[in-house]
Symmetry: C2
Subunit: 318 residues, 2 copies
Amino acid sequence: MTVVSPPSLLALDWGTTSLRAFLLAADGSVIERRAAQRGILQVKEGRFASALEEIAGDWLARHPALPALASGMIGSRQGWREVPYAEAPAGILELARGLLALECGQGRMLRLVPGVAFRAKSAPPDVMRGEETQILGALAAADRGEDRLLFVLPGTHSKWALVEGERIVSFASFMTGELFALLKAHSILGRLMTKESDDPASFRRGLKEATRGGAAAGGLLHKLFSARTLALFDELPQAGVASYLSGLLIGSELEGGLALIAAELGAVPKRVTLIAEAALAALYGTAFAARGIAVEVASGDAAALGLLAIARAAGLLG
Amino acid sequence: MTVVSPPSLLALDWGTTSLRAFLLAADGSVIERRAAQRGILQVKEGRFASALEEIAGDWLARHPALPALASGMIGSRQGWREVPYAEAPAGILELARGLLALECGQGRMLRLVPGVAFRAKSAPPDVMRGEETQILGALAAADRGEDRLLFVLPGTHSKWALVEGERIVSFASFMTGELFALLKAHSILGRLMTKESDDPASFRRGLKEATRGGAAAGGLLHKLFSARTLALFDELPQAGVASYLSGLLIGSELEGGLALIAAELGAVPKRVTLIAEAALAALYGTAFAARGIAVEVASGDAAALGLLAIARAAGLLG
């Protein structure tokens, strides 16, 4: 006999380019999951209610009292409704307090999770929307042997976040993924990338070039040009240019991120928790390992677990 | 009575996106000049002879014995014919020795100037094509009070070159201009740049952010994101995002370039000679001045003067 837990929450991870929906039981188990190319950029004319109906209409019809919670860019100025940022330090309680409820059709309420803003002394502010929920979800699922944890979420705009006492205390964004995509699609370097392939040796070479020489080596704007010159002199295989560039950019992110963390903590971190899909987790895993930093990859659906924890803290689970 | 010098050289500055032609007298004066959108990317199917005929056919018909010399990407693999790079250190003599002659129509010869390659110890190689001719042309026109000169040529791929004893001894490229164009046209930052305007205050703020905190501030991939967050919190006017990004990138180029030069020379340079059109010269002038480095802008047609000097050294002027 299979025991089916009753659904407790409709959890939505609603980002810029994708929408993921989870029907969750109170113990965090996923009863059903769905995904659609319905990120906020793909939803035209603010038709978010239709997108929600498409992905989860039958669930909502079947469970009229089911609470619904969404995190991510859906709560941005370009999303359904703008939710003011919670200020770091922020944990589950601060996010639960900042929920914004809107009517999402047929008298039903959808609650949006706030993003988090971080204002360091004498530095520009930084922001995240969606990653805070993933981080706190992964934290809820993790062993909490350490008082302080470093999370890294690679992507279009990678996030590095320090968590202390179960709250996000500081973080920084890196435009690594967006820059890689831009350079590949539109730059003179992209024109060299006629052959697509993963080339681990070229990736490692890019990582190494990122760490070469410190500031006196000329910086990233200079080093990017080496993807061109090395290919020009056949010192890099043509099929390896994309991997080299990827290594150079990810290596530069680590160079900057680790220096930032070291300045804050007074020491380079010994371990890091990655929240990433498999391909990026492998690349970042290689990059951290090359610096002797231990890597753990968060398992499970961090966003869903975070949404459940926030819903519980907000008293939505009944 | 006007004395018209007889033409001594057809000089072509033939780059990626533009073609400039000069009819030169032996004393370096420009008898006539023309420009066309006939860079090597705009010339289809290798029809370089037609492009040459279009821009200078009447000059060549009128002066059958006129020697013709071209510098720039026309001598690259994507150009008319690939000319092997001269290795740095390289001056007028080395370039003259490396000329490659090709038949350009009706039995007439066109000579192509080699680019220059620089191989630093334990760093990727670097290359230039066209800038070497501009640098040596500007040098020929300049007072030579100093034994060692730093030239900076801002652009799509900015070049920083050290000249000693009238030869280019080392140089480095920076992808500043290309990255600015990419980010403006295709990135999430570009979407913020709905209002176009030059905003000197935002430019200076970008310059300042580039120098903030050294490596411990997180590096360029992180700082780029500040163009977004500052605009998001109305700490930067919407009309200033492009200028801020320009300041941040040019400031990062200076940060990297000056560190590179300082490591090579053991000291930050006191002065720099810019070879640039007016708008870029003004921006880079501001950026160097903010660091207390004196700026001189090369006057005259550096490319034409360089081509004349190379032609003379090659014995082409008769």
